[in-house]
């Protein structure tokens, strides 16, 4: 039953859908990394427009989970439903609607910032005018023509954010987005990738206090398994820290 594009919150047809389609729904997701299980039996549900914070120590499987949601990794067991499409069969249907900001900026060092964004714009079928708009939003209009090779780490991160939101994705997948950014830059990016953006977001971070403040739900991972899952309001940072970072 094809999901009408964009209408995520409620279903128009009289289809007997018990609950409004969640933006993201995982049931028993498992994924091996080589021969070692990286994720085991992860189930979580995220409503459209909300933010889920993913916490956990290094190697807990946070980045793996994000890459599965970004359709970069196929789930080995369990089911993943993303923006109305089930992965991995219908991955191609959602690829254009996801903004992924990982550890790698995914930019070509020898091309300039503008050339990189124009390249991604054309791949996603986005009007070139949007490139200048986004460059202005991240405050890089001035340095847009310098090769990425010459840009500082913070500037590259801002360019990567520009790339991630260029095609106005419905779902943002952010892996420690504020790494390498000074407070002023973080402030500037808030409307693009922060809670203010109004987009559905999955945020991987180590900043427990920040996560509880800016997200609706929290998913804690330990050794690839769900250690805790609760609305952000009900959690106390010290308790979260002791549970996840023993």
């Amino acid at each position: 039953m094809p999901e009408p594009a964009g209408a995520l919150v409620a279903r128009q047809e009289g289809a007997p859908e018990p609950r409004p389609a969640a933006a993201v729904e995982l049931r028993g997701l498992g994924r091996d990394y080589g021969e070692r299980p990286a994720l085991t039996d992860v189930s979580v549900r995220l409503e459209a427009g909300q933010t889920l914070a993913v916490l956990g120590s290094n190697g807990a499987g946070k980045s793996t989970l994000l890459r599965v949601l970004a359709t970069l990794l196929r789930p080995h067991t369990g089911t993943v439903s993303l923006l109305g499409a089930t992965l991995p069969a219908e991955a191609h249907r959602v690829r254009g609607r996801i903004g992924y900001l990982g550890h790698e900026p995914l930019l070509y060092r020898d091309l300039s910032g503008r050339e990189n964004l124009l390249f991604h714009a054309r791949l996603h079928g986005v009007a070139p005018a949007r490139v200048d708009e986004v460059l202005a939003a991240v405050g890089l209009s001035a340095r847009a023509n310098d090769p990425v090779r010459q840009l500082s780490r913070g500037t590259v991160q801002r360019l990567a954010v520009a790339r991630a939101v260029l095609h106005e994705p419905e779902l943002l997948l952010l892996d420690e987005p504020r790494a390498g950014l000074d407070p002023a830059a973080s402030e500037r990016l808030e409307p693009l990738i922060g809670r203010g953006s109004g987009r559905t977001r999955v945020l991987v971070t180590h900043d427990v206090e920040g996560a509880l403040a800016e997200s609706h739900g929290v998913l804690g991972l330990r050794r690839g398994r769900v250690a805790l899952e609760a609305p952000a309001g009900e959690l106390d940072p010290a308790e979260v820290r002791s549970e996840l970072y023993r």
């Binding site: 091996d32 990394y33 080589g34 021969e35 070692r36 299980p37 050794r223």
Partner: protein
């Protein structure tokens, strides 16, 4: 041969059938076929008019070549089946088929050069299409293990290996066509694979030899599959024990978690 994966856990939903079934009868049939073939080669087939006794190598060299080629092409088909179905056992079958075909290819090159020495006086003859084509095929498939071992992630390794198997499998017949058409066929085409010009007894001997070689291939193929599958199951058990150990259970106790058969290999 009883099924390999007998499991003590009664709730094991599906006893995983190993690859070992039917290996003993198959080996018996292969042994008989090879004995018959050998007997026919030396006591039934008449001596070749001009080549004399040396021509006997034909009954070994050509069947080995044909079986190796079919093995490479079959490996390509299995690789494609792995890519389509995602079932890693197809990759295992393709891997083993290429392994055996490569070893047979060495045999083809060795027996071919011995035959060239015996009938034309030197070990390597560039104008013999079977030999030249097999050298190229061998050079190509010798890279297969290097490709597999230089990729760590098992999933990606299996996929790259399967894509290689498909491409190389399709290349093999084309390679023969290229080498054959590049040859100016100056000297007598001694062993045309169709064996058109051969008297009845010779052709019969050749066929029996071909069947024997094919049976040998399948036997070795099943043998190695059994060994590799057992090794994989062992690794799965080892991982389960180490995982159990990490989660604070007493070291080394192979805990059969309810519902999950201890010996079930990771799917």
């Amino acid at each position: 041969m009883t099924s390999l994966a007998s499991t003590s856990d009664p709730s094991a939903a599906k006893v995983r059938r190993g690859f070992g079934r039917g290996l003993v009868p198959l080996s018996a049939v292969t042994l008989v076929a090879m004995a018959v073939a050998l007997g026919m080669v030396f006591f039934y087939a008449p001596l070749d008019a001009d080549q004399g006794f040396v021509q006997k190598i034909f009954y070994l060299h050509v069947p080995m070549a044909l079986v190796a080629l079919v093995g490479f092409i079959a490996a390509g088909v299995m690789g494609f089946a792995h890519l389509r179905s995602g079932d890693r056992r197809w990759d295992l079958r393709s891997y083993v088929a290429i392994h055996i075909s490569t070893i047979l290819a060495v045999g083809v090159l060795a027996t071919g050069s011995i035959w060239a020495r015996a009938s034309w006086g030197h070990w390597w003859v560039w104008s013999e299409p079977m030999l030249v084509a097999f050298l190229i095929v061998f050079l190509l498939y010798a890279v297969y293990p290097m490709l597999r071992f230089s990729i760590e992630d098992p999933g990606r390794q299996a996929r790259s290996a399967s894509v290689f198997a498909v491409a190389a499998g399709a290349f093999v017949p084309l390679n023969f066509a290229a080498v054959r058409s590049a040859q100016s066929l100056t000297h007598p085409q001694v062993f045309s694979t169709t064996g058109g010009g051969m008297p009845g007894e010779m052709f019969a001997t050749f066929l029996v030899g071909l069947v024997a070689m094919a049976l040998l291939f399948v036997t070795l193929w099943k043998l190695e599959l059994t060994a590799k599958h057992a090794a994989e199951q062992l690794r799965a058990v080892r991982r389960r024990i180490e995982a159990a150990a990490d989660d604070g259970d007493p070291v080394g106790a192979p805990v059969a978690e309810p519902g999950r058969p201890l010996a079930g290999a990771a799917s």
